[in-house]
Symmetry: D2
Subunit: 136 residues, 4 copies
């Protein structure tokens, strides 16, 4: 069944000094670091990380689409709201970054991922993950 | 005049050990580092870097769309072919990463940028840059 | 007066997935990122950041000495305890990283810094900073 | 036999835009990235990389001591000269970074490493590596 959606997950953090580039704002590539960590956080919260590692499963990014709406500055407090969506055998992550003080949207990031099995072959999204989509 | 296109530019490099993540391949965010450097390289080759800095011009990324086609491993030799395109007052960069040995395409990255003047207001693409589009 | 010491400052964080290298632990260079952020945090807490920026002061690292005692893994919770020390016109930072759960020491980092004025000349440690050394 | 020394190895590169921090020069942590890559390069040149990986050997950094002498700016061309030295069961790397145009020394980095076997136990420096110390 397609277009199943998870509940929303949240990851909060503060922009760090070494993430700024010579323009004095967070470098464009760092947004991908942030969203990657929000995904690690979700799997950790769901208790799936050890299971994935034990079974040799990897989750691999095959597409990142980032829209930069407002710049992020040193010590800005940022929240990433993430919703997962199943689309065929792909797992989509829809990340929205916002400033927790101003509530303004900073960036929208769509990430398309696929699971690889222990032989690096694309495989279905693990059932243990999909089950969490209907729990909320 | 829209959809003006530049000639193609090339940037070659080798994947480095510290760019690998725990999956043993180059981390997805690093592709944005690579493409950013290919753009710095173009401006440097064109002799525009000092001019931009002197005039307070900044070029800011407002969208990155990355498709990951093949993984990049330690010491892989990579070439980025880049073509710039004018679209309204946006400057698009179309990057294609390929392995210089196997000739296989590794990634395609579309980057949408805008120039900001010394007051951080969006401005037109500098004439000195557009002139290079017709030279080739 | 030399060898004046500040009180101790604390910075807590969790190791992130993209900070791991191909060995599956936090890469050695990332320890410098962590300690850099703990210093930004101190200046921010002391309300000195805006003052430094307004006066054109920069604080520049001239030496880093890192001892790696235990590896840091994904989601490890880490605390950096930092004490500043004046030595001639240098400002030393003595950072100790420990795991907040096991209480074990992970790393010791000694950082030697110097302040540069708006002309990039070495200058004395700002009085406003030294005053905080005797407050505690 | 202690204090055996290897010949000198060289790694050349250009400083990249995304390596700059908000001070407009290469961030202090990036020097560790550079020197790490120079070590990967040496093992690769010596044809030891596959051998280490096949035998489950890891080389782990236990100490980094960096002296920053001159700042590195965008597009600076840098050369790292590296000499390895055996000290007990530790392998030391003495890196000297210099600007290839001005010939001025930019940084000196002393790195202490140890080899871990497939059970993550400290072990002797591989013979295949030490043999290269007497070849030159």
């Amino acid at each position: 069944m397609d277009n199943m959606r998870s509940k929303k997950y949240y990851f909060k953090f503060q922009a760090r000094g070494y993430e700024l580039d010579s323009y004095g704002h967070v470098n464009n590539a760092v947004y991908l670091n942030y969203t990657e960590q929000s995904r690690w956080q979700i799997f950790n919260e769901l208790g799936l990380l050890d299971q994935f590692m034990a079974s040799g499963l990897k989750i691999v990014v095959i597409e990142n689409h980032v829209k930069y709406i407002r710049q992020i500055k040193l010590f800005d407090e940022v929240e990433i709201e993430t919703q997962m969506e199943k689309s065929a055998h792909f797992l989509l992550f829809k990340h929205v970054l916002s400033n927790t003080k101003t509530k303004k949207t900073l960036s929208k990031v769509m990430v398309k991922t696929v699971f690889l099995d222990e032989n690096d072959k694309a495989c279905d999204i693990p059932e243990s993950l999909l089950e969490t989509f209907t729990e909320a």
